[in-house]
């Protein structure tokens, strides 16, 4: 980790796995380096690093790691409304890391690759429905 202590990284790992729980097709965020991705982002943004370190310290004071899962979720729900800046940054960067991971992108039914250079095949579509528009005739206003 570039920025986070081991304890903070452990807390963050637990948190991101509650934000996006694993299912049979999609991995837990902590298993695909989401914590490392956030740590990397923090190392480039001092203001955000401060918000995270303060937020994680507060969470740590609540002994987050030793709480039962339901109580952890309740605490995160409370943070969502009481510490909106930290929580919204946490959520955005968790989603940023998760939904740009090729494993996840493949898991949601896409090809798992970025848009370029291959692009996609697109159907031309049904332009015959324009006949009705054409039959109605001119709608532009001639000044």
């Amino acid at each position: 980790m570039k920025t986070l202590s081991k304890n903070n990284a452990d807390i963050l790992g637990e948190m991101v796995d509650l934000l996006i729980p694993a299912n049979k097709n999609l991995p837990a965020p902590s298993k695909i380096n989401v914590v490392e991705h956030i740590d990397d982002a923090l190392s480039n943004t001092p203001k955000m690093k401060r918000i995270f370190v303060e937020g994680l310290a507060d969470i740590n004071n609540k002994e987050f790691l030793s709480l039962p899962k339901m109580e952890q979720i309740a605490l995160l729900t409370k943070y969502e409304s009481s510490n909106g800046t930290f929580f919204s940054l946490l959520l955005r960067h968790t989603y940023n890391a998760y939904y740009t991971n090729p494993i996840v992108v493949a898991g949601i039914g896409m090809t798992g690759r970025p848009p370029q250079p291959l692009g996609y095949t697109l159907e031309k579509g049904n332009l015959t429905l324009l006949d009705k528009v054409i039959k109605k005739g001119q709608i532009w206003r001639n000044p």
């Binding site: 996006i20 939904y99 949601i108 848009p115 692009g119 324009l130 532009w140």
Partner: protein, 535 residues
């Protein structure tokens, strides 16, 4: 100060949509033309993110359309606290065409005659048909995908390439328009759908707003600029203009700018042309004060910076219960509905609106859309939404109002100390009623097409793409800043060619009309070059 004594015939400030077209036209005539651009070149094959896994994140950082969020060295900050709509732009060779969605509709004939037809605002000092040859020329150079025969326009010259494909998503939404019997058409897009003019056809990758790495999208860095440079035009990048100076007779004399190292330079020209967009142009004019022009250059009317028009946008999103393959194809689908474009006396507003269809959001954008909860239901909700949404951007005609304006912020500056612009804007009652009507009709289309859930944003904040009206055209020097040829009433060798000179906004994207105007003005200058240059 480093004074460059090589005086040029014409100095253009800004290398975006209008500056590129104008420079090409003048270079073609043999005039010595130089362009100063505050941004730099972008290399499409290496500088865009769409070939990397993290491509979507760039929308939040270095490719965010809002310069206040992007905060690159080449950007200037804008005080937009006093506006519910954030002004958006890009600073590079190609200007905002780098990040645009390539919508390329023209304004319509009635847009140029709103006073005569509807007794609002002012008529333009020229007509759609005056601009028609320049629309056609511009389409040819840019390369336009579309389909002739749109009943919402006079007949146009043949489109350069076939329309952007509808895909499964397009077919779905068209069914709604069809059942209601409302107008829809595959709108003009500045995108090659097949190879044209040495550039390839679009491979339907999706995110046009992040730049086109294969050059299928017709940003001016890949259309006009290579041609203009080949004709001998000179383009200076990283040149940040501070002010335009005048001589003792009040004629524009030079532009003073900072180069990339922060060194102050001065460039003389016989004619100076502003092409810096509807915010950047009034910023330069208002920063160019002198004893002759204490209120800013070309501002005897007091109208520089006034009458700022955006196109206010409402967003209507429908959720469908089937996979629409919404990630395939240019995100701006370019179906346009002009059913409600023209004034209808039975409505409680004048003028009208269009809506454009936008495909589904990409994975990260879907997750961040505000519709996907964290926790236990995250994946199930994501699955129900991803690739299954269709969005309408309802674009209303914003009429000019004197209190909507660009001024100079008393404190804010860019990194070189050049005072920054401040935006003050209020949405008018007419625009609000218009957008509400648009939300209603757009909702009808969504329902008819089978949407199972419909949500809307009544006024999108990050939508100030179109910056218009802040140095309006007109015949009367007390009521306008420039004449019908973009020539400043107060300074006869100063021209403005960007969206600033729009008299009214219409209800479609302005780029095609901005560029046609730039070519029209260039033609005028070429025809009068002896008079202007004295040779």
């Amino acid at each position: 100060m480093n004074i460059d004594n090589k005086k040029v015939d014409v100095l253009v400030i800004g290398a975006g949509a209008s500056g590129a077209a104008f420079t090409w036209k003048l270079a073609k005539s043999g005039m010595k033309v130089m362009c100063l651009e505050q941004g730099d070149w972008i290399n499409p094959s290496t500088d865009y993110s769409t070939s990397s896994a993290g491509w979507e994140i760039h929308r939040q950082t270095d490719f965010n359309p809002n310069p206040n969020i992007r905060s690159l060295d080449v950007d200037y900050p804008i005080n937009d606290i006093g506006s519910p709509i954030a002004p958006l732009m890009y600073n590079a060779v190609g200007g905002s065409t780098i990040h645009w969605s390539a919508h390329f509709p023209r304004l319509k004939p009635s847009d140029f005659r709103v006073k005569t037809l509807d007794n609002v605002a002012d008529d333009w000092p020229l007509s759609y048909f005056d601009l028609e040859p320049y629309f056609d020329l511009n389409d040819k150079i840019m390369g336009v995908a579309g389909l002739n025969g749109d009943t919402a326009y006079p007949p146009k010259s043949p489109r350069q390439t076939p329309p952007v494909g509808l895909g499964k998503l397009g077919d779905k939404i068209v069914s709604g328009f069809d059942e209601l019997g409302w107008h829809w058409w595959p709108s003009d897009s500045a995108i090659n759908t097949v190879e044209y003019d040495g550039r390839p056809g679009c491979n339907n990758c999706g995110p046009c707003d992040l730049g086109c790495s294969i050059k299928a999208k017709s940003s001016t860095d890949v259309t006009y600029w290579p041609k203009a440079l080949e004709l001998g035009a000179e383009l200076i990048t990283n040149a940040r203009v501070r002010e335009i100076t005048v001589d003792q007779s009040g004629k524009a004399k030079s532009a003073i700018y900072y180069d990339s190292k922060g060194e102050v330079k001065e460039q003389y020209a016989s004619i100076i042309v502003l092409a810096s967009n509807g915010v950047g142009t009034p910023r330069i004019l208002l920063n160019s004060t002198s004893s002759k022009f204490p209120e800013g250059l070309a501002n005897s009317s007091g109208l520089v910076g006034k009458n700022l028009m955006f196109h206010p946008y409402s967003i209507v999103t429908g959720l469908f219960d089937e996979d629409l393959e919404g990630h395939k194809g240019p995100t701006p689908l370019n179906i346009i509905c002009s059913e409600f474009y023209e004034t209808d006396p039975s409505r409680d507003f004048v003028r009208g609106y269009t809506y454009q269809v936008v495909r589904s959001l990409a994975p990260l954008a879907t997750a961040l859309s505000g519709h996907i909860p964290w926790g236990e239901n995250h994946h199930a909700t994501f699955k129900k939404r991803f690739n299954r949404t269709i969005t309408f951007a309802v674009i209303g005609e914003d009429l000019p109002e004197i209190h909507n304006k660009v001024t100079i912020d008393p404190k804010l500056t860019d990194s070189f100390g050049i005072p920054s612009p401040k935006i003050e804007y209020e949405l008018s009652e007419n625009s609000r009623k218009m957008l509400d009507h648009g939300i209603g009709t757009a909702t009808q289309v969504m329902k008819t097409a089978g949407a199972i859930e419909i949500t809307h944003d009544p006024l999108k904040r990050e939508a100030g793409w179109h910056l218009m009206g802040t140095a309006k055209m007109g015949a009367n020097k007390d009521e306008s800043v420039v004449n019908k040829y973009g020539q400043a009433h107060d300074v006869d060798n100063l021209f403005i060619i960007d969206g600033s000179i729009f008299v009214t906004a219409g209800a479609v994207n302005p780029t095609s009309t901005i560029q046609a105007l730039a070519l029209y003005i260039a033609e005028h200058i070429v025809s009068k070059s002896r008079e202007f240059l004295g040779k």
